[in-house]
C-alpha cells in the first residue's frame, strides 16, 4: 500500500531556512548602503557594484568548472558570491578603474574562497582578501577618493571617463591621521560628523553613509541573520579606545562617534566582522573576536601608519579565529564528562 517511502535518520522535518535565504537577507540588509552609494557616487556605484558582483560570480563558476564539479553552476545558487561581490564593491574607492575591480573580485573569490574549498571553508573574509590584495598592488588607486556627486556637481552622469572629471578629496580618517601627527585639527574632523553620518563625504562606495549602514545592520539583527555579539564587541572596544584617545588629547584624537561613523567601521561592524564563515562560533569567541577587531582597528588608526585599519583587523582576527574557537570550547551542559 505504501510505495516509494524513504528512510533517513532523524530529524525528519526542518526549519524552512537555507543558506540562500540567509544570503538574500544580507543582500537586503545591504540595500540601503547600495542606495546611498548610488545617490552619492552615481555612475561609479552603477559601474562598480555590478562589475564586482558579476566578476565574483563568474570566478566562482570558473573555479567550479576547473574543479570539475558535476554542476558548476550549483554553488552560485547560494548567492554567497554575490554578497562577496557587493561587499567588495562597497569597500572600494568610487573612482577605481573597472579592471582593478575585476582583478580584486577574481582574487577575492579564487584565492580568498575557492582554493580553500568554497563556501564555508575559507579562513579569511574573501572580500577583505580581495581588497587587501588590491591595496597591496595598486595602493595609489586605492587611496584616491572621489568626491560625492552632491558636492561635485560636475560628476559625470553617464560617461565613465573618471580620471578627467573626478574631483578628489581626502577622507575624514586621513584628516584624523593628520591631526594625530600635527596634534591639532581633530575638532575640524569632529565637526564633519553630520556629513559622515549622512554620507556626503569622500570615502569608499559603501562606507560613507553611516545612516544607511545602520539601517541595514538593524535589519539583520532584527531578522536574526547576524548575532548582535560581534557588532557590540567591536563597537564597545572602538568606543573605549577612541575615548582614551580623545581624553588624552582632544586636539589630536577625534571623538568616538566620529571614529564609529567614519571609514569602514560600520560596514565592518554589521556586514564584515559578522561574516559567519570567518568569525568564531561561540559567543565567548565572538566577543574576543569583536574586541580584537576593534582594538586592532583603533591601534592602526591611532598608532599605526595607515589611516584605516578595519581591513587588516578583520584579516588578522580571521587568522586567529580557529585558535579562538579552539580555546573557547563549549562545556557541555552537564559539565566535563569525568571519564
Amino acid at each position: 500500500m505504501l510505495k516509494n517511502i524513504t528512510v533517513s535518520c532523524a530529524p525528519h522535518i526542518s526549519q524552512p531556512l537555507s543558506t540562500r535565504r540567509v544570503m538574500v537577507d544580507v543582500i537586503i540588509g545591504l540595500v540601503p548602503a547600495i542606495v546611498a552609494a548610488g545617490y552619492y557616487f552615481r555612475i561609479y556605484a552603477l559601474i562598480l557594484i555590478p562589475t564586482c558582483v558579476i566578476s565574483a560570480v563568474a570566478t566562482e563558476w570558473l573555479c567550479n568548472l576547473i574543479r570539475k564539479k558535476p554542476n558548476p553552476l550549483e554553488s552560485l545558487g547560494d548567492f554567497s558570491a554575490v554578497v562577496t561581490g557587493i561587499i567588495l564593491a562597497l569597500s572600494l574607492p568610487p573612482g577605481l578603474p573597472i579592471w582593478t575591480a575585476v582583478i580584486g573580485s577574481a582574487f577575492a573569490i579564487a584565492v580568498g574562497k575557492m582554493v580553500f574549498g568554497g563556501l564555508g571553508a575559507n579562513i579569511f573574509n574573501p572580500a577583505m582578501v580581495g581588497r587587501a590584495f588590491l591595496t597591496a598592488c595598486f595602493g595609489v588607486l586605492m587611496t584616491t577618493w572621489t568626491v560625492p556627486a552632491t558636492i561635485d556637481t560636475t560628476m559625470p552622469k553617464i560617461a565613465a571617463d573618471n580620471k578627467v572629471h573626478a574631483r578628489t578629496q581626502a577622507t575624514p580618517l586621513a584628516w584624523s591621521k593628520q591631526a594625530i601627527k600635527t596634534k591639532k585639527g581633530a575638532h575640524a574632523v569632529n565637526a564633519q560628523f553630520k556629513s559622515t553620518f549622512t554620507g556626503e563625504i569622500g570615502g569608499c562606495l559603501g562606507e560613507t553613509s553611516a545612516l544607511a549602514l545602520f539601517i541595514g545592520g538593524l535589519y539583520l539583527i532584527v531578522k536574526r541573520t547576524i548575532n548582535p555579539h560581534i557588532p557590540l564587541a567591536v563597537l564597545i572596544s572602538t568606543v573605549v579606545f577612541a575615548n582614551i584617545g580623545s581624553m588624552i588629547n582632544p586636539n589630536a584624537y577625534i571623538r568616538p562617534m566620529s571614529h564609529l561613523c567614519s571609514g569602514g567601521m560600520l560596514l565592518c561592524v554589521f556586514f564584515i566582522a559578522t561574516d559567519p564563515v570567518t568569525a568564531p562560533l561561540t559567543i565567548k569567541g565572538m566577543w574576543i573576536f569583536g574586541i580584537g577587531v576593534g582594538t586592532i582597528t583603533m591601534l592602526i588608526r591611532i598608532v599605526g601608519e595607515y589611516p584605516e585599519g578595519v581591513m587588516y583587523a578583520i584579516l588578522l582576527m580571521n587568522a586567529v579565529t580557529p585558535l579562538i574557537d579552539r580555546f573557547c570550547k563549549l562545556v557541555p551542559a552537564g559539565g566535563e564528562p569525568n571519564v
Partner: protein, 196 residues
C-alpha cells in the same frame, strides 16, 4: 628607559612587523611540515625559541669576541653553523638523557632545527643589522622565536580547521598552507609602519 624602549620596540618589531616567517621567509620547511597540529606546532615553536635564543646569543658572542677582533669574518658562516649544529645536538642529547619528559614535549623537535634556516638566518640578520649590544641580540633572538611560534600556531589552528574543509585535492598540504601564509602576510601588513 631609552634602552628599555629600544628593546621593547625591537622585540615587538621582530615578533609582528618583521616576523621571520612571514616577511623574511625563514623557517618555511618546518612551517609547512610541523603546522599540522597545534600541540606539535607549539612544541616546535618552543624548541625554535629556545634554540634561536641560544644560538643568537652564542653566535653574537663568538662573532664579537673572537671573529671580529681576529679579523676572521670569512669563517663566519662555517663557525655559525657548526656552533648551532653542535649546540643543538648537545642540548638534544642532554635533554634526552636527563629530562625525558621535557624531551618528549619539546626536545623531539630539536633535531628538526639544525636544518632550519630560521636559526642561521636570524644569526645572520642580527649580524646584518649591526646589533652591537648583547642584550639587544638576546632580546631580538628571543623575539624571533616568539614570532615563529606565533606564526606557526596560527597556521596550525587554521590547518586544523582546513582538515574539515573540502580543499581541492591538488592544493592539499603545502600549497594551501603557502596560500594561507600569503594571505596572513596581507593581514600583517596592517602593522607595517607601526613600529620604527
Amino acid at each position: 628607559m631609552d634602552t628599555l624602549n629600544i628593546l621593547l620596540m625591537g622585540f615587538i618589531s621582530i615578533v609582528i612587523v618583521n616576523n621571520l616567517v612571514l616577511t623574511k621567509f625563514l623557517g618555511i620547511c618546518p612551517y609547512l611540515g610541523v603546522s599540522g597540529r597545534i600541540d606539535m606546532a607549539f612544541g616546535m615553536g618552543m624548541a625554535v625559541t629556545f634554540v634561536v635564543t641560544l644560538s643568537g646569543t652564542l653566535t653574537w658572542l663568538i662573532d664579537h669576541l673572537i671573529l671580529m677582533p681576529m679579523g676572521l669574518e670569512v669563517t663566519r658562516y662555517v663557525c655559525f653553523i657548526l656552533v648551532i649544529a653542535g649546540a643543538v645536538q648537545l642540548v638534544e642529547m642532554y635533554l634526552r638523557k636527563f629530562f625525558p619528559t621535557l624531551y618528549e614535549s619539546f626536545g623531539i623537535f630539536l633535531p628538526l632545527i639544525t636544518t632550519n634556516c630560521a636559526i642561521l638566518g636570524l644569526c645572520l640578520f642580527i649580524n646584518l643589522w649591526g646589533i652591537d649590544n648583547l642584550l639587544e641580540a638576546v632580546v631580538l633572538s628571543f623575539g624571533a622565536g616568539i614570532g615563529f611560534t606565533m606564526a606557526i600556531c596560527i597556521m596550525a589552528g587554521i590547518r586544523e580547521n582546513l582538515n574539515l574543509a573540502d580543499v581541492p585535492e591538488c592544493l592539499k598540504g603545502a600549497p594551501i598552507t603557502l596560500i594561507t601564509a600569503g594571505l596572513l602576510t596581507l593581514g600583517f601588513m596592517g602593522f607595517a609602519g607601526m613600529i620604527r
